[in-house]
Symmetry: C2
Subunit: 340 residues, 2 copies
Amino acid sequence: MTEKVNRQVVLSERPRGPIEARHFNIVESTVPTPGPGQILVRSIFSSVAPPHRAWIQGVTYRDQVAVGEVIPGLAISEVISGPADGPARGTLVAAHSGWQEYGLADAAEAQPIPVGDHLARHLGVMGINGLTAYFGMLEVGQVKAGQTVVVSAAAGAVGHLAGQLARIAGARVIGITSSDEKNRLLTDKLGYDKAVNRRSDTFQQDLADAVGEGGADLFYDNTGGYVMEAVLPLMATHGRVVCCGGTAAYDGLEQMPVGPRGIPLLIILKRLHLVGFIVLDFLERFGEAYEKLAGWIDGGQLADLAEVRDGLDAAPQAMVDLLAGDSLGNLAFRIGPDPA
Amino acid sequence: MTEKVNRQVVLSERPRGPIEARHFNIVESTVPTPGPGQILVRSIFSSVAPPHRAWIQGVTYRDQVAVGEVIPGLAISEVISGPADGPARGTLVAAHSGWQEYGLADAAEAQPIPVGDHLARHLGVMGINGLTAYFGMLEVGQVKAGQTVVVSAAAGAVGHLAGQLARIAGARVIGITSSDEKNRLLTDKLGYDKAVNRRSDTFQQDLADAVGEGGADLFYDNTGGYVMEAVLPLMATHGRVVCCGGTAAYDGLEQMPVGPRGIPLLIILKRLHLVGFIVLDFLERFGEAYEKLAGWIDGGQLADLAEVRDGLDAAPQAMVDLLAGDSLGNLAFRIGPDPA
C-alpha cells in the first residue's frame, strides 16, 4: 500500500544458554498487505513476558519461533485497513501482530479496546496478565478468606496481581521476589502481608517464618525450580499449588531441568493438589473477568505495576532484563505514537 | 500372663543406603500385658509394603521407627485377651500389632474379619491395598470408560489391583513393571491391554507406543522417579496423575532425590492435575469399598496376586526383595498357625 518501512524485531539466532540482546535483530521490511479476513495494524505498544522465552526455545502450546521470524506477541494497535465486516479504520485493538511497527492479524481475533489514558494497561492488568491472575487465583486456585497464600515472582507481571487478588479475597499473602526493594513495594503499596527475598542466604528460614506453623494453603507458582522446592515442604495438608509459570526453566537450558526435590513424596504425604493451567482455557469467560478487574481498579483495591520502555529497539534488552529478574510488573515498550 | 516367648522383628540399625536384612534383628521378649482399652493378639500373618521403608527412614504421617523398636505394621491376628467391651477371645482381627508373635493393639481400632480360607487376603485385596487401589483409582483418579490409563509398579501390591479396577471401569490399561515375566502375567491373567518393562533399553519408546497418539488420560503412579519422568511427557492435555507411592525414593537415600524433569513446565503446558492421597483419608467409606471389592472378587472380575512366605524370620529378606522389585503382588509372611 505504501513505501513505508516496517521495522521488526526478529530472532537472529536460537540461544543455547541465557538469552542476550544479540539473539535478536532489528530489520526493515515493507508494510504487508492484509489477506482475506486480515487486518493491517499500526502498533503502539507491545510487551515482553516469560512465555516469549519458552516460545523461542521450543514447541509449547504454539510453534517454536523460527530464526528470522518476527517475535510473536500481543500488541495494542490502531487498525489501518481490513475487511468491511472487521474493525473500522482507526479502531484500537489488542491483536497478535508481533514485535513490529506494522503487522497483520486475524480480524475476528482482534479485541477492540476503549480509547483511554492507559493503553499499555491492556497488555497488563486489563490484558492477559490480569486475566491470568484472575483465573489462576480465583478459579484454579480457589482462594478462600483466611487462607495463607504464597506467590512466587510476586512482583512480576502476573504475580503482583495474583497476590492482590488473594488479598481482596481475604487471604493472608506472602510474596517471594528477587530483591528487598521489590518486597518493600509489595508490603507498603500492594497490601502483601509479608515478602521474602529468594536471593537471601536465609531465604528458606525467612520463608518458613513468614508462612508460620499452619503451612501454606495455596501456592501460586510462577517460577518452579528452587523456589518451588522451597515452598513444597511448607505446604499445609491438602494444600493446592497453582502451576502458572516456570521462569526458572525458561532461560539458558536446552533440556528441561530436574524437578523439585520431594516430588512425588511430598505430594502424597501432604495430599497436595498441583494444577497447571493456561489462561486461554478460560477464553469464554474473559468478559466477566475484565468487568471484575475494572471494578477493583476503579475502587482502588487493585494497583498495577508497569514499566514502559521507549521504542521497538528496547525490546531485546527488555527481554534480557525480564529474565534476569530486573523488572517490575508488566514490562511493555512503546512502538509508535498514540492515535492522533 | 505366661512364660511364653514373644519373637519380634526390630530395627537394628537405620540404613544409610539400600536396606539389607542385617538392618533388622529377630529378638525374644516376653508376651506383653494389655493396658486399658488394649487387646493382646497372637499374630497369624503380616506383610511388607513400601511404606515400611519410608517409616524406617524418617518422619512421614507417622513417627520414624526407632532403632530397637518392633517394626510396625498391620497383622491378621487372633484375640487372646482384652477389655470386656472389646472383641471376644478367639476373634480374628486386623490390627496394627507389628511384626511380632504377640502384640498389643487398641481394642477400638481392631477390625474384626471373617474366618475364611484367605486370611492373608485381608492384608491385600481385602485390606489396605485393595482400599488404596479402590479410592485411588475411582475417587482420586476419577477413572472413566474409554480413558487410557497408565499404572506404574503395575504388578505390585496396589498396582495390580488399581489396573484391574481401571479395566473394570472400562478403561484401556497399560502397566509398567520391572520384568517381562510380570508383564505377561498382567496381559494374560489380569486383563491389562499392554505392559512395558521399565528395565528395557527401549522403555521410553515402548511406553510411547503403548500409550499411542492420544496420550494418557490418567497415570496412577506408585513409584515417582524416572518412571514418572517417562510418563509425564506422554500425558494427554488435562490429564490426571494420582500420586499414590514413591518407591523410587524410599530406599537408599537420606535426602529426597530431585523430582522428575518437566515439573512444573509439563504440568502447565498439558494442564495436568497431580493429586496426592493417603487411603486413611477415606476411612469413613471403607465399608462401601469392601463390599464392592468382594463383589468383583466373587464375580471373577478381580484377581489378586499374593505371595506368602513362611515365618517371622522371612520378614527382613521379604522387605529387601520387595524394594528390589523382586516380588509380585502382596508380599505377606506367616507368623503363626491359623486358629484351631
